[in-house]
Amino acid sequence: MSRMNRESMLVVDNVTKRFGGLRALNKVNVEVKRGEILGLIGPNGSGKTTLFNVIMGFYHPEEGRVLLQGEDITDLKPHQIARRGVGRTFQIVRPFGDMTVLENILVSGLFSVPRGGEHRKIEDRCHEILKITNLTERINDPADELSIAEKRRLEIARALALDPQLLLLDETMAGLTHAEVDQALQMISGIRKEFGLTMIVVEHVMRAIMSISDRIVVLSEGRKIAEGTPKEVSENEQVLTAYLGHRKGS
C-alpha cells in the first residue's frame, strides 16, 4: 500500500488520560497520514471526544505525546494548536450565539495566523467557505437562529476558516435525516477535494463512516481494540462484541 509511505500528519503516541479513577484513554496509539480520512468509532463513553480534547490541548494527558507533523504539541495551549492548523467541531454545537454567521467565521479567519493579515482577503475567503457549507443565505443572521443542521454546518465552516491542515469532526451528522446525511457526506468529500485536508471523523452513523473513511480506528473503554479498512473493521469479532455489548439496537 502506497499510503504507508506517506508522511504522518498526526501521531498520538501511547496516550493515557485519566479522570479520577477512570481511564478515558488507555495507552492509545493512533497515526494519521497526510491527506487521509481516518474514521474513529466506538461505543458511547469510549474516549473519542476525549481524544479530540487531548489533541487540541484541552486536556493534557498523564502519559504519552501528541505529534503534529513531527512537532510535539502535547503541552501547547488550544489556540497555539489551532494556529498550527488543527480545526475541530463540537459534538454539542457551540456557535457564538449573538454573532452573525459571518462574524462567527470571521473570528477563526482573523486568528488563523499564516493566512491572517488583510481583513478584506479574509472576508473573501469566509464567503467562499459559506458557499461550500451552504450557509450563504444565512450570512447576516444571528447564529442562534439557525436550525440544528445549519449549526452543524456552521461548526464545520468555522473550523475551515482557520485554514486547517487537520480537521477533527465530532459527530457532525448526529440527529440529521437520511437526506441531510447524504448532503453532509457530499460536502465532506467536496471539502477534502477542495482543500486537500487530512481528517479524523467521529461518527455513529455507520453508513456514513464506512463510506467516507480510508481507515478506521475503534476505541472501547479507552483502549484501541481494532484498526483497519472499513471492511476489515466491520468484520472484526472484537468490534462486533463491543458494539453489541454497549449499543443494543443502534
Partner: protein, 317 residues
C-alpha cells in the same frame, strides 16, 4: 453589510462636541453637572471595553479610578516636596499608566478565574486597596490627600475640556477595538471562551489587554477628578460608583459603541432627578428598573433600537 448604517461613531463624537460647546457657554453650575456626567461616561466606556466586550463581570472597576486619583495626589505631593511640578496632562497620563500597570499585575492571577469567582475577586481587590489607603499614613488615611496649590490650578471649564478629550479618546478607542481583532476576540470570549481558544484566540492575552485598557481610561478619569477637586479621598473607591457604571452600560447596551454614552446620560439625568426627590428610596427604584431592563432588554437601548431598525433593513454601526 445590510442596509444603511447609522454611524455610531459620528453620533457619539457629535454629542460630545455639542455638550462641550454647551458646557463652555453655560454657567459654572451647569458645567459642573456636565463634568460629572462626562466622568461617568468615561468610566462606563472604560468598563465597557473590558466587561462589555469580554463578558467578565467586574464589580471592582472603580479601583482603577481611585488608583488614578491617588497617583496624581501622591505624585503632586512628592514632586512639590522636591520643589517640582509638572504640566497637568502629565499627571493625568501618569494616572492612566499606573492604573493600567496595576491591572496587568493583578490581572495575571485573577483573570484565570471565571464567572462569579472573578467578580468576587474584583470586589475583594477594590476593598483591599481601599482599606490599605485608609490605614496608610503616607496616603492620608481616611482624610485623603489635598494638593491645592501643588499643581497648576485650572478653572472648571479648562478641566471640562480635558475631561472631554479623555472622553473623545475612549470613544475612538472603543470604535477601533470593535473593528479589529481585539474586539472580535473579546466578543468570542464573551460568547464561549473555550471555543474562542479553539478558534485560535489567545484568550489569556486578550482578556488582560482589555482589562488594562479599561483600567487606563478609568485611571485617566480619576486623574482629572483629582485635579478638579485638588484632593483624593478613599471615597473615590466607593463600590456604589462601580454600580453606577454597570447600570449605565446595561441601560445603554453592553458591548456597543453608543451604549455607554446613551446609558450614562439617561442614568445621570434620572439619578439626579430622583436623588433630590427620594434621597434614599431612589436606590430601590433604580434596582427595580435595572432588573426589569436586564430581563426584558438584555441588550439595552442600542439592542432595542437595532431590533426596530432591523425591520427596516437598517442597523446601528
Amino acid at each position: 453589510m445590510r442596509g444603511i448604517g447609522f454611524n455610531s461613531l459620528t453620533m457619539s463624537l457629535g454629542f460630545l462636541i455639542l455638550i462641550g460647546i454647551y458646557g463652555m457657554v453655560a454657567d459654572t453650575a451647569t458645567t459642573s453637572y456636565l463634568h460629572a456626567m462626562v466622568e461617568l461616561m468615561i468610566l462606563a466606556y472604560s468598563l465597557n471595553l473590558f466587561t462589555g466586550l469580554s463578558g467578565y463581570a467586574n464589580f471592582g472597576h472603580v479601583v482603577f479610578y481611585g488608583l488614578g486619583a491617588y497617583t496624581v495626589s501622591v505624585s503632586a505631593v512628592g514632586l512639590s516636596s522636591m520643589g517640582m511640578s509638572l504640566p497637568t496632562p502629565v499627571y493625568v497620563l501618569g494616572a492612566g499608566v499606573f492604573a493600567a500597570i496595576f491591572a496587568l499585575v493583578i490581572g495575571f492571577p485573577i483573570l484565570r478565574l471565571r464567572g462569579d469567582y472573578f467578580a468576587i475577586a474584583t470586589l475583594g481587590i477594590n476593598e483591599a486597596v481601599r482599606v490599605t489607603i485608609c490605614n496608610t499614613k503616607e496616603l492620608g488615611e481616611g482624610r485623603g490627600i489635598y494638593i491645592l496649590g501643588l499643581v497648576p490650578s485650572y478653572d472648571i471649564k479648562m478641566l471640562y475640556i480635558q475631561l472631554l478629550l479623555v472622553a473623545f479618546a475612549v470613544v475612538v478607542t472603543t470604535h477601533i477595538v470593535l473593528k479589529t481583532k481585539l474586539g472580535y476576540g473579546l466578543r468570542a470570549i464573551r460568547a464561549d471562551e473555550d471555543v474562542a481558544e479553539i478558534m485560535g484566540v489567545n484568550t489569556s492575552k486578550y482578556k488582560i489587554m482589555a482589562y488594562a485598557l479599561g483600567a487606563f481610561f478609568a485611571g485617566l478619569a480619576g486623574g482629572v477628578v483629582t485635579l478638579q477637586f485638588a484632593c483624593s479621598f478613599p471615597e473615590y473607591l466607593f463600590i456604589g460608583r462601580s454600580v453606577d457604571m454597570f447600570s449605565a452600560i446595561i441601560i445603554g447596551g453592553i458591548g456597543t459603541l453608543l451604549g455607554p454614552l446613551i446609558g450614562s446620560v439617561i442614568f445621570w439625568i434620572v439619578k439626579d432627578a430622583l436623588l433630590i426627590q427620594f434621597p434614599y428610596f431612589h436606590l430601590i427604584i433604580f434596582g427595580v428598573a435595572l432588573i426589569v431592563l436586564i430581563l426584558f432588554f438584555p441588550r439595552g437601548i442600542v439592542g432595542l433600537a437595532n431590533r426596530v431598525l432591523a425591520k427596516r433593513g437598517k442597523v446601528l454601526e
